[in-house]
């Protein structure tokens, strides 16, 4: 794999290799402490995302590599009007790997066209965030032991949530997946996802408006934020937001081995009382995110 721009760039085999390596690293991290000793990674963050940047930087540093970069566009050459290909060519002559976050959709794809070094998309606008998808998939495997043959509930903003879209696309490569899509009518999954993925691949799915009616059927519950700015008026938001807040009461009918995921940061969509429930795995998820990025960096640098 030369670049990672879209979560669909990876075949099931490549995904499996990444997850196997992630597991090995988790089991015996010491073995990989110097895997990237002589490698330099650049984090080009044209918009701030401390969480994602730290995850990548921690991953590289734990592999013995070094990191340079910037964390917002105003401190970079982009603020002086340099074109993206020029920045990429220049930075690419210093480093072995570029991790890039950009507010414009398709920017990492455009950058990859002129780049000699591998590029990892760390999020481009509302478009793609493939390492979040890798994190989500590894979490499901680690907690549930498998991805196949499960009912996946996705709850909240399914219209604008990019992590939801790429997760659906990637999960649809696996056998026996059922989707339950839980959202207000205003924030339903876009038509093209239904048409291009779910209907085209004949993947069973249902759309509902409340969590309670489906809770007992779900194996993996993926919660997302319902943002105020997505609604036309305050009244709609206030009326709907509680429907999509997960609390202990809603969990009464849930399966004993349910896994609750969330891409974080959370605002109020999961009540803090749920945190102590063993089924809440969203903080573990963040840790898996770092390990899967370690595996990805090793693979992309051929450092094994």
């Amino acid at each position: 794999m030369k670049h990672l721009i879209d979560s669909m760039d990876l075949s099931i085999e490549e995904l499996e290799e990444l997850f196997t390596l992630s597991k090995e690293i988790m089991k015996d991290e010491d073995k990989y402490r110097f895997s990237c000793e002589k490698k330099l990674m650049s984090t080009l963050f044209y918009e701030p995302s401390t969480r994602t940047r730290f995850s990548f930087e921690a991953a590289m540093l734990r592999l013995g590599g070094k990191v340079i970069g910037f964390s917002e566009a105003s401190t970079s050459s982009a603020s002086k009007g340099e074109s993206l290909p020029d920045t990429i060519r220049t930075v690419g002559s210093y480093v072995d790997l570029i991790v890039m976050r950009h507010p414009k959709e398709g920017a990492p794809r455009y950058a990859s066209l002129t780049s000699d070094v591998p590029i990892i998309n760390a999020g481009d606008g509302g478009h793609q965030h493939p390492t979040q998808t890798l994190t989500d998939l590894l979490t499901i495997i680690e907690i549930k032991g498998k991805i196949e043959n499960q009912t996946i509930g996705l709850c909240g903003d399914l219209k604008f949530g990019r992590t939801v879209h790429s997760l659906i696309k990637s999960l649809s490569k696996y056998e026996g997946i059922n989707f339950i899509l839980i959202s207000p009518p205003e924030l339903k999954i876009p038509e093209y996802i239904k048409k291009e993925i779910l209907l085209k691949e004949s993947i069973p799915f249902i759309e509902v408006e409340t969590l309670e009616e489906v809770m007992g059927d779900i194996d993996v519950l993926y919660m997302t934020r319902v943002q105020k700015e997505r609604f036309f008026n305050e009244a709609d938001y206030v009326r709907l937001k509680d429907t999509y807040i997960l609390d202990n009461k809603k969990l009464i009918s849930a399966k004993k081995d349910l896994a609750i995921l969330h891409p974080l940061p959370r605002v109020n969509e999961i009540s803090p009382e749920v945190d102590s429930d063993p089924r809440a795995v969203y903080f573990k998820q963040a840790k898996y995110g770092m390990y899967v990025r370690m595996a990805l960096i090793i693979k992309m640098l051929g450092a094994i």
Binding site: S83, K104, E105, G106, A107, R109, Y110, D124
Partner: protein, 142 residues
């Protein structure tokens, strides 16, 4: 019936769906040509009832792929010595470069200066294309 001379050499774009002849005329920028061009609208057609036709009295290097996006039903006849020497059946091109502009304001093509807009065919019937950068869907409205 209005009679338009048949041409001895050039290109005849035939079987254009009624109403789209003028669109194609515009897209090919034929108003700027310095050779004879005829735009015929609402001509009787056995196949379609009515059709538009464009006759161009010259062999040009016009980018005819554009026509396939506007109306995939057209046939293009290349005429030499008053005979049809080549019939081209058009279908919407798989890739379109530099013709469609991405309408997604968040697309990288809206801010970078030298990027070539490229689109890939998504649905032949609906004539929908997808931006190669941001995946935004472009529907070719008739």
């Amino acid at each position: 019936m209005l009679y338009i001379d048949s041409i001895s050499k050039g290109i005849v774009i035939d079987h254009i769906s009624p109403g789209l002849g003028f669109r194609i005329f515009q897209y090919l920028k034929l108003e700027k040509s310095d050779y004879t061009v005829a735009l015929i609208i609402n001509a009787p057609s056995k196949r379609k009832g009515k059709k538009d036709v464009i006759k161009i009295e010259k062999h040009t290097d016009l980018d005819l792929r554009i026509i396939g996006i506007i109306d995939p039903d057209v046939t293009i006849n290349i005429i030499r010595n008053e005979k049809i020497v080549e019939k081209i059946q058009l279908s919407p091109p798989q890739k379109v470069e530099g013709v469609i502009q991405c309408k997604n304001p968040r697309c990288v093509t809206s801010t970078e200066d030298n990027v070539t807009q490229t689109f890939s065919l998504l649905d032949k019937k609906e004539l929908s294309y997808k931006c190669d950068y941001c995946d935004h869907i472009y529907n070719w409205e008739m």
